[in-house]
């Protein structure tokens, strides 16, 4: 097929719904760095995004913003009732002690930061417990047969995603992070999120979203900006 004959297929291709010969033809043209086809693809991506931007608006619940910020490790801007109550108590105590405004401010900020971290950690733990309580969650352990490697468990829930709990993780160089991978049967690894280990070498990482029930899960060490495919040897893995 010529580029012109494929012109009407690029929106469908970039939506991931084109099948058969037309899809193979487009991939062949793009693989040859055909300039016209690249232009058509860019125009199709723009059309698709414009169509999606016309979706009638639905207001998300306010808690979703806090949840998203917590999931990427950005400090919360909202106040939970617990944080507000504790911060108020901290303020009263600071004033009562009359240790001076600057000292009180510093202590209050520290208390607030600690509380925010605690609340974020509590949310993560609640999410993990919810994950473990689901009847369809399955578990595979790793590292038990080795002398002192990373060890722990992968929990897979096809509807919710993957929960990884690991210990004995080695200390990483600056600029490095652990990256989890989901490897479908006969497929290539796809990134499943970055995480860091705590000072004791422990880590908990959650991948949210539906996951195929028959996959292999693996972890490698990658640049802390993440990789599209593994660039180092697999540190540990387990199959479901």
């Amino acid at each position: 097929m010529t580029c012109g004959e494929l012109r009407d297929s690029y929106e469908l291709y970039s939506l991931g719904i084109l099948e058969g010969e037309e899809k193979r033809e487009i991939e062949a043209h793009l693989g040859r760095n055909c300039a016209d086809c690249q232009k058509y693809l860019n125009e199709a991506l723009a059309v698709n995004s414009l169509v999606l931007s016309h979706t009638p608006g639905v207001v998300p619940p306010s808690r979703l913003r806090r949840r998203v910020m917590a999931s990427v490790g950005v400090e919360r801007t909202g106040w939970t009732w617990l944080a507000a109550l504790a911060a108020a108590c901290a303020l009263i105590v600071a004033m009562w002690l009359s240790v001076g405004k600057r000292t009180a401010d510093r202590e209050l900020a520290e208390a607030r930061r600690t509380l925010q971290q605690s609340v974020a950690e509590r949310d993560r733990l609640e999410q993990a417990f919810n994950f473990l309580n689901q009847p369809e969650t399955r578990q595979v352990n790793f590292g038990l047969d080795k002398p002192a490697p990373p060890r722990g468990n992968f929990f897979l829930n096809p509807r919710l995603g993957v929960l990884l709990v690991a210990s004995n993780l080695p200390v990483l160089q600056r600029g490095k992070a652990y990256e989890m991978w989901v490897i479908p049967k006969g497929g290539t690894p796809r990134p499943a999120g970055l995480f860091q280990a705590g000072p004791q070498g422990t880590a908990m990482h959650i991948l949210n979203g539906a996951v195929d029930a028959n996959v292999t899960l693996a972890v490698t060490v990658e640049p802390d900006s993440g990789s599209q495919s593994p660039t180092s040897n697999i540190l540990f893995s387990a199959g479901f």
Binding site: E11, L15, I17, S49, V51, T55, L64, M69, P184, G187
Partner: protein, 204 residues
Amino acid sequence: MLKRLIPISLALALLQVTLRFKDDADLARRLRAREPSAMRDLYDRYGKMIYSVIMRIVRDSGAAEDLVQETFLRIWNRIQAFDQERGALGPWVLAVARNRAIDYLRSTDGRMSAGALELERLEHPGQFCHIDERALSMDRSRRLQDAFDKLTPQQKTVVELAYYEGLSQSEMAERLQQPLGTVKTWIRSALKVLREQLSEAAIV
């Protein structure tokens, strides 16, 4: 009076769309620099749009919230591969949101499960490097609305099935109980109308 108000309200809505995309390059630069405030700005700018697209696809608020979180995590984790000098942040964000929701939809009804990796590839930030920064401009948005108004009911149906249900043409034919050739004509003619209307916007 009403006739005067409608164009004004439409213009205001479209102006908001334009302003939203105006400083995306700077926002992408701040995201790459891992500035925490950038993530908050990203959410404030696109959170409602992402939630709306995902809700339209999955029609379940609990699943939608999970998928919104997954979308933002994905943007945050992959922003280093995004070229803010040449890329279009809005189209990328919308593609990630739509593909996450379609992937979820396919996994829940057991259809085209092998397509997950393909969606991953199609939403790679490198794909969005050469898109016109005016992709979501006010003028194009207005022209798209004009184009939608020109579509027949059948064309609107197949556009809906393509964008919000992720059905292939053969799946559409089965769903609508129509010959495959008929469905192909509907969807391609619909997309041609949209594309040509937007091309006119580029010329004017």
